[in-house]
Amino acid sequence: MTPAIEIHDLHKSFGKVKALDGLDLSVQPGHVHGFLGPNGAGKSTTIRILLGVLRADAGRVRLLGGDPWDDAVGLHRRMAYVPGDVELWPNLTGGEAIDLFARLRGGTDASRRDELCERFDLDPTKKGRTYSKGNRQKVALVSALACDADLLLLDEPTAGLDPLMEAVFQECIREARGAGRTVLLSSHILAQVEALADRVSIVRGGRIVETGTLTELRHLTRTTVTATTGGDARDLAGLPGVHDLRTENGRIRFDVDGDHLAAVVRRLGELDVHALTAHPPTLEQLLLRYYGDDLARTGGGAAAGSRP
């Protein structure tokens, strides 16, 4: 099956700043693809190149089988976009803006529009300048979700939405996937990505550092195990893949690399286990693992910079 989005070795610079440095990304049709990374990693630049408002310096980009720059207009009939910071025309109402976007895209289902306004609790009679940030976001979401797009490009789409609306959003995205649409979801809300994404790509410094299903990514990192045992568990510390073993109130606790989990659990079984919990890493831990050296590097950089 042809991927909905296929990016190979994408480069983009703004002056001397390298925003994208050999980014690769492949999104399968019908998937919700999570796109994660720290601020300034290149997520929005990638999405803007996919939209055809920025031009790639080098690399191959295919979007729904077309070129996002040359075939922009034709492709845009089949996709919808929600930016993270929605600006509306101050003197047009939200309803006018939604209708306008729908018509510019080539038609929409009016009943679906009304239903979405209802679900997102949006008042379409207010002027653009009177909306709060969350409500401007709702205007963009309603106009994107009301159309029959094959592909949704969402760049931090729920920034500023309350938890109730977040739940409505997740429901809508599940429906969109149910209808066979593809979603590229850039987000900082990890619970949202964990709940929705079939696959996840982590971007850092303008390139993808990891990509896969959440299960695959979890396998790459450590599981935290807590156990109460009859036998002495301290020599577990010597096993390959075991980290940070410590004893707290008669319980042992350690992290184990995904690759060595099976062996360690076998060993643990011999130790007369009374109680055992093992939880996989959260997405937050996954991310911290990838951004962790970033933090260390900036910390180190600052320290180096402060030396005369």
Binding site: L51, V53, T93, G95, E96, L104, R105, P124, T125, K126
Partner: protein, 550 residues
């Protein structure tokens, strides 16, 4: 209630509604470190320019007497003032009677924009909330903004006085003219302090104060026109804050007491502003925002209609303003022609030469309107750029709207608005001239002369489009040819510019009909050039990255 239960030491020593005013005022001065000198020195320079220019154009009393004949006509009174002391004309009386009005207008604009900028605009942006969350009293921001305006007005008064004294004018009149300008600043600061309470949006608040300023201009205009004809309606001038400052009659009557009216009005309006500000919440207006239509009109459906929807309010506003200006200019035509019969040669040359004064005047007015409509066109391109920078273009281009369609739609709407606005202005000028002179043929001749400038305006519009499409940061450069066009078009005879230098201006080729013939070839060439630049603009815009602020 709470205070009685608190130990005295728990309350800050000063916790009134004005707490923090001093700090805020210093902060505003710091924020306005460019604007403050720009406004005050700008107005002082304008004064200096008036007095120097008048001094070099009118060197003899005979020349002054000739031009004051025009100035004491109703049209001269409308755009100048009551003209005190014209029976024994001096340069300083002519300056004060005919040009001081524009110093007053400048000061009023300075005051109203300053108050809005430091009160309502701060609230709208959310910065006022951050400030108010500190130890800052409820009225501190309004007070600091008014103090800043008072400081600006006092500086204008001092600088204008100093410039006039330096030019060698009478000390008493110079100080009075300066004080009159300062007084207008205080009054419009006060009026703005009411307007910013009423509307939640800075532009609406400035617009309301601006409308009051316009009404003040018209009231005193009608009053002064009545005054020069010894009509009964001259009391209307006394209803206008601009009128009070003009009624001081610097260099002629030299009376200070009308300024007491200004001070009383400034105090009363500021007091009303404080009262109203106590009755509303932060960031709320006294007029609640009205809901709009829940659905878009059926015609709003593609890039050109969106461009029209966004430019519509502007086009309507410009149409009204140009129609009114045209009617006023047209009403000028006959009295001006009468007045100019004795005018100095340079002035006659500026007005299109001695042959047929009315036709020459109408030709110059057509050119002036073409400059004005060019301002509209260039501002329209700037707002296209503002749309892009604000991030509103990106979601539109994310639909099935092409780059060419987006920019082409915007430029097309502006390009159609150009002949429309020239038509409206020409009809206004032509109608008033036809009525004034009794020559009905001048209606269509004037209208044709105005609309004929369309290709020249188009050329600058296309140049702006090309700059926007290629290097949007350089867009402001396009104001330069307009500025040059104004100088070459209106002042070439006075400045003695060589013919070759004048011909560089895009406005110098169509011809100032009915004073001159319309050059068909030049019209065609300008149109073709504009079309070529537009095509290039659409090509380059389709190739560049969007520059969004985010």
């Amino acid at each position: 209630m709470t205070a009685t239960t608190l130990p005295a030491s728990a309350r800050p020593a000063s916790a009134g509604p004005l707490t923090g005013t001093g700090t805020l005022l210093r902060f505003m001065l710091r924020r306005d470190r460019i604007r403050f000198p720009a406004w005050t020195l700008g107005i002082a320079l304008l004064t200096g320019y008036f007095t120097t220019a008048l001094g070099s154009v009118y060197t003899t009393t005979e020349e002054l007497e000739a031009v004051s004949a025009f100035s004491s006509s109703p049209a001269g009174a409308l755009f100048g003032g009551p003209g005190y002391g014209y029976d024994a004309i001096t340069l300083e009386r002519f300056l004060s009677g005919q040009y001081a009005l524009y110093i007053l207008l400048g000061t009023a604009l300075m005051a109203l924009l300053t108050v809005t900028r430091h009160t309502r605009a701060e609230e709208r942006s959310g910065r006022a909330e951050l400030v108010r969350a500190n130890v800052v009293g409820r009225s501190a921001q309004l007070t600091a903004a008014l103090l800043l305006t008072a400081l600006l007005s006092a500086t204008v008064a001092a600088l204008v006085t100093a410039v006039l004294l330096a030019a060698g004018h009478a000390p008493a009149g110079s100080a009075l003219l300066g004080a009159s300008a300062g007084a207008v600043g205080l009054v419009f600061g006060g009026i703005a302090s009411i307007a910013v309470q009423i509307f939640a949006y800075p532009r609406a608040a400035s617009g309301l104060t601006g409308a009051v300023l316009g009404a003040a201009f018209v009231l005193r205009g009608i009053g002064d026109m009545a005054a020069v004809q010894d009509g009964g309606a001259s009391w209307l001038s006394w209803l206008s804050p601009l009128g009070w400052s003009q009624q001081t009659g610097p260099y002629a009557l030299d009376r200070w007491w009308p300024l007491a009216l200004s001070l009383a009005c400034a105090a009363a309006t500021a007091a009303a502003g404080y009262r109203l500000s106590g009755r509303r919440d932060l960031d709320a207006g006294l007029v609640p925002p009205r809901p709009g239509p829940p659905r878009a009109a059926a015609w709003l459906r593609d890039a050109p209609t969106l461009a029209f929807r966004l430019q519509r309010a502007g086009i309507i506003g410009w149409s009204i303003a140009l129609l009114v200006a045209g009617l006023a200019y047209g009403a000028f035509a006959q009295p001006l022609a009468d007045g100019l019969e004795d005018a100095p040669e340079e002035l006659v040359a500026v007005m299109g030469g001695g042959g047929n004064l009315v036709a020459g005047y109408l030709g110059v007015m057509g050119l002036t309107m073409a400059f004005t409509v060019t301002v509209f066109a260039l501002l329209a391109v700037q707002s296209v750029r503002a749309e892009e920078a604000a991030g509103r273009t990106e979601p539109v281009l994310a639909t099935s709207v092409s780059r060419t369609g987006w920019l082409g739609g915007n430029l097309a709407v502006t390009a159609i608005a150009v002949p429309w606005l020239l038509l409206v202005a020409g009809l206004g000028t032509g109608a008033a001239t036809a009525i004034g002179t009794g020559d009905t043929a001048l209606l269509w001749k004037t209208t044709l002369g105005h609309v004929a400038h369309t290709p020249a305006v188009w050329l600058l519009l296309a140049a702006a489009g090309l700059l926007y499409g290629t290097l949007p940061r350089l867009l402001p450069i396009v104001w330069a040819p307009l500025g040059y066009g104004v100088v070459a078009g209106l002042f070439a005879p006075v400045l003695d510019l060589p013919d070759g230098a004048v011909r560089v201006s895009p406005f110098a080729h169509v011809g100032e009909y009915p004073g001159e013939e319309i050059a068909a070839t030049a019209t065609g060439i300008l149109t073709l050039l504009a079309a070529a630049l537009t095509a290039l603009a659409l090509r380059t815009f389709a190739r560049r990255d969007l520059t969004t602020g985010a």
